[in-house]
């Protein structure tokens, strides 16, 4: 079975069956998944849902696997998880709203390549 994926600008939410067991989590305050540092636009959940952040380093960030890149230090792109308890809107000032079905989601952040380092994308 292929997991549902929802791309919302520079983040990607992948529905997963359950939270990984090898990570300790802490619940993030508020409903903002990611906020732009410059403009302040935010990916925000509106509904009965909570966002989990890793409480310690994620060793195996995803069951979907990562693409290795030559000479590139791989940063974890999983920035957290969302537990949606009822259909919840995912909003952003620049992107159309997505209604997330009930479930658990891995949240990934988009990145960009440079010869020496990886930089996260911000929209």
């Amino acid at each position: 079975m292929i997991n549902k994926q929802y791309r919302h600008g520079d983040i990607l939410l992948i529905k997963i069956d359950k939270l990984p067991k090898d990570i300790r989590f802490k619940t993030k305050k508020g409903k903002v998944i990611l906020k732009g540092e410059v403009i302040g636009h935010a990916h925000r959940l509106k509904g009965n849902a909570k966002i989990l952040e890793k409480a310690e380093r994620i060793i195996n960030p995803s069951p979907t696997g990562s693409l290795p890149v030559r000479n590139t230090p791989m940063k974890s792109q999983v920035i957290g998880y969302a537990v949606v308890k009822e259909p919840t809107e995912l909003t952003h000032e620049e992107h159309n709203t997505i209604t997330l079905p009930v479930g658990t989601y891995e949240i990934r952040r988009q990145r960009e390549y440079d010869a020496d380092y990886i930089r996260f994308v911000e929209d």
Binding site: L67, H95, E112, A115
Partner: protein
Amino acid sequence: MKLGDKGNMMQTISDSLRIKLDSWKTGENIRHTEYGEYYILNKTISEVDLRSSHFNPYVIELYFETKERGLCIYHIVIPPINVVSKIQTIIFFPYGTTLRILNKRNLSEILSEDKSLFSNFLDLRLILGESLSLRRDNILCEFKALLERGIQDLETKIKLEMDYPITFGDIEETKNLELREQALRKFGYENYIKEGFKRGKIRGIKYDDDVDVSPFPNAIDHYTIYNHNAHRLPHQDIQISRSSYCDKHEKLIYFWDSDIAFLQVKDPSSGKIYFLKVPREVWTVKEAKAWTFGLNKEGYHPDLET
């Protein structure tokens, strides 16, 4: 006064200097940018004979002239090198205003520690991106060689700090990756790619096979070139035969001599086109998009994109 301040930088020019500067206004020195045309009138390293005088500085002069700002001259001065002097790198305007002292250090102290001379020039190290163990008897020669190799990076750094227009050539020739990235961002990815087309710097373009380009006639040549070749030789370099550019669909753009490809993507909500840099090892748009989220192409299959 900081280096980035934009005060009155106009230089009073004598008739003789004006004649000399005008003679330098050649096609080689002109820069065409979205800000208009300007000239880099001279880019030289003038060296005085330190063997005859310990007190003459080693000077790099850069002349910029724009219609809006007039002439600006930058002097990068390396004071005399001898065992009692301090090494200092000073950038100043013609008026003699000292803008920034980059570093000071006693030469004898540096040499006695047997460290790389250039690791002690904070900004020069950044710009030149390399270090060198200098021999005492050949210090000037090696210093000069390093500066000559780094002169474009110095120019780019000054342009960035002074908010001068960046040119395609600056980006191409700047060696320091950090500076190059700053210059690229200032120039704009899209401008860089469009200019790359004009100058024949594009190595190839990849569209995903299912892209329908028929509504966009300007893209058909590229599309045709790609598809004719790609199905037979999917990883062969593709030379673009014309300098048209289409910004309508998602594509991968490869430059010659670069480890980076540009992924041109379209925001599904706003329709805005933007560019992401991806490693050149990726070979399809889908693979590139998957890479930006740390996934392989099989793992990336968004059901909804906004």
